[in-house]
Amino acid sequence: MIQFNFEQFSRAMHSAPEPTRIITRAEYSEYLQKEVFDKLKRDEPFNLKELDWDAIQFCHVTPAWYEQWYRTAEKDWAKGLCSLLKRTPSNMCKQRVFF
């Protein structure tokens, strides 16, 4: 029979890895302004081959709202998890079942 082991559960929770941050905070790039956006504003094309891609970092090509959008999605997932846990039988009977 499968039994809930609180110690193992607790160890697993404590050994959970740090969240991997793949979304960098948006930063302004003078280079992109000059080589891409100023040209687009004048309705001119820009050349992808001529861009210095090593000078462009992920933070320069991340829109300002992007990080906030991710945070909102993360919060929504946390809320979904809470809602799921509230519907489990142990919480519904309002007494300690597992530990």
């Binding site: 302004y28 992109l32 687009l40 094309p45 992808l48 891609w53 462009i56």
Partner: protein, 185 residues
């Protein structure tokens, strides 16, 4: 930030190119040769072509689709297969059920592809005989190719990091097992 009406779309397109430069240099060089000089419209039009190249996805023309679906693609990527391969190794060493990792991968895909992009009408998780994953994705009417491609880029980057972490755990477990065997001998 850059005082251009469509700066978000352009930034997301450039973000996809930056991902290609860092993680898929061969595809990146092919894209540069193919595209060269672009304006905003060309960036938008070519993003589907880039998705097809990177995510092995034969893209169905939106006009061919029926009902509420705007179009579809089959998501296949080496990071997905690497994750599943590594998870099998990890499960062999620890006795954890592979179903746990399959569910985890599904959650990762749902988070990055559905919740972030808000472009998905429906998707399925299909495993073939050798355990490789293919995810057919049907687009919603709110499909935005720039946001969607950026979501896929985030998914690929997240999985690269997750695979590194899993690989490190497997190496640690293997060396631990070797030590135990050596001591026992």
């Amino acid at each position: 930030m850059y005082d251009y009406d469509y700066e978000n779309e352009v930034l997301l397109a450039l973000r996809t190119f930056k991902y290609l430069q860092v993680y898929e240099p061969v595809v990146f060089q092919a894209m540069l040769k193919e595209l060269g000089s672009v304006d905003f419209d060309a960036l938008y039009d070519n993003m589907v072509f880039i998705l097809e190249e990177v995510f092995d996805s034969p893209y169905t023309d939106p006009e061919l689709d029926e009902d509420y679906c705007y179009g579809m693609l089959y998501l296949e990527h080496r990071t997905l297969d690497e994750f599943l391969d590594l998870s099998v190794q990890y499960c062999d060493l620890t006795g954890v059920s592979p179903a746990v990792f399959r569910k985890k991968l599904q959650d990762i895909i749902l988070f990055h592809v559905c919740d972030i992009t808000e472009s998905v009408y429906d998707l399925e998780f299909r495993y073939d005989d050798v355990g490789q994953l293919c995810v057919p994705i049907w687009f919603a009417e709110s499909f935005d190719v720039m946001v969607f491609s950026s979501g896929l880029v985030d998914l690929a980057m997240y999985l690269q990091e997750e695979n590194k972490r899993l690989q490190a755990q497997i190496s640690a477990l293997q060396s631990e097992t070797e030590t135990i065997w050596r001591e026992a001998a």
